[in-house]
Amino acid sequence: MAILEVKNLGINFGGLRAVDNFEISIKEDELVGLIGPNGAGKTTIFNLLTGVYFPTDGTIELSNTDIRGRKPHQIVHLGSSRTFQNIRLFKNMTVMENIKVAYHNRMSYGIFGSVFKTKRYRAEESVANEVAISLMDVFELTSFKDEQAKNLPYGKQRKLEIARALATDPKILLLDEPAAGMNPQETEELMNTIKLLRQRFGISILLIEHDMKLVMGICERIVVLDYGRIIATGTPAEIRSNPEVIKAYLGE
């Protein structure tokens, strides 16, 4: 069963057709890479999938529900979560709080519950704490628990952003250039983390990345985009030898 089913997706910015006839189907547990030269429309597609932009045409189905026209927070509710190309953390909040904010939708106590510290409040808060602690464990952030997010080193900030995205309990995770600005060693570490989180959480991932070693190393399927159109799809090996991809993106 497909988690994410996109058909005939397109968007116009004035006279510019930024994305045209984009199609993708991501199954459970699948890791798909989205690559292409700068300005090909990769991030635009992410913004379409997360409800930041409204598509001009086409359909987007997230676990069989049409999500066109829904607000970003509603789409998160339906099981999709994302990270950003330029890290967007809650800089003045601690690492722990950053993760707990994302756990928001999985709690249900109301304003009066928080004021009177009801049983439900205490139970849900303690579950939230446990989830946050276990996520910090997975991403090796435990020692930074009470540190403000802005004080973390770059690689840890990337990790925290992924941890935060996972706290919303997504079925599919959209990672926008997670390795941007990382050195080879950090990229290696990130690759291991992504592998680990697939094992542990069993979620589908759609990944935008320019680091070919990472993309070719972990993706099962790759979609190549150029000028808003898909020019190739296939396994890493197929993509590497596709003449059109070489011409448009990889270089000879």
Binding site: F90, S114, A165, A167
Partner: protein
Amino acid sequence: MTAFNQTLIKLLTNKKVVHYTFITLIFIVLFTMIKSGTIDRYISNLLIMVLIMIIMSTSLNIATGFMGQLVLGHAGFMAIGAYTAALIAILLQPYIESTLLLFIVSALAAMIMAGFAGVLVGAPALRLRGDYLGIMTLGFGEIIRVVITNLSDITNGAQGLYGVPRIMTFPIAFWTTVIVVALIFLFMNSRHGRAILSIRDDEIASESVGINITKYKMIGFIVASMFAGIGGAMFAFKEGFLAPSSFGFMKSVEIFVIVVLGGMGSLSGSIIAAIVLVFLPEVLRSVNDYRYLIYSSLLVIIMLYRPQGLMGTKELDLTQTKSKAIQFWKNLKLLPGKIKLLPSKIKALFLKWVASIRKLLKLNQKGSDC
């Protein structure tokens, strides 16, 4: 004996116990001083004013400090609360004997009316950001004042509303303030509070983790205006007389200054700043004309050296006071040494300045040569 010591240590490190005891102690001390006449009427009135400003600034702190939305019309909500409470109290006075009950009923009504005004203003205003929101809320504050002035049938217009029962006693004011601040504190430490905090840091990220930012902006704004309504009710019952001019733009600024000075996002900061800024002009009364000169230069100095406000975003934690006090004492001991160094530092700075000017002049000469 050791068992006793252990329980004592346990109690002294328990945040709840320490803080509630501290508050009760303050209350007992102040209350006995007022009852015995050590504190005269003038000062006890000032104390109530401090408490009102604490409510006003902590409530504004929700919208401006925690949520990061510039709100410059907080006195408008205070005015709505004050007039609602006053009118209802005048109406109900013959029927309700107990002043406490009268206060509770009218304060609740004030809260509801101010909250309702919060909905009306918030819905359109919160679509705007930053300065634009500031201007709009400022405009709203003025509208409220003008409307109250012109509704002379109900509010007696610019002449002011007389005959409001002066039922504001120190204990009522004190415990109302404690309850309001505690409510705000508990609210900010819940998932709702965290959602509001995340809006301040990054709206887009906040939406991308599933927070309905429109809803939470409204909630934050409404909660802030509701508590401002209570502050207004207390003000009405303290003064016994209401005029629209008491809720002008300067009142909003006064509240805003307290929030900024205390630290945007720190409730204890707002409390400390409210105490300081209400008492300061009174303490400075002796120097007469220079009063506001000192007051405003103090603000400038604090903003220069502590732009994040007195407390930043941190909260005062009494269980940590001992180690903090020791730290402070150590720093204090170092102070004379630092002061000795000061002249040489100033000299170095001055020399640096002169050198940079010389460099600039030389560059200019070269420029004219060409």
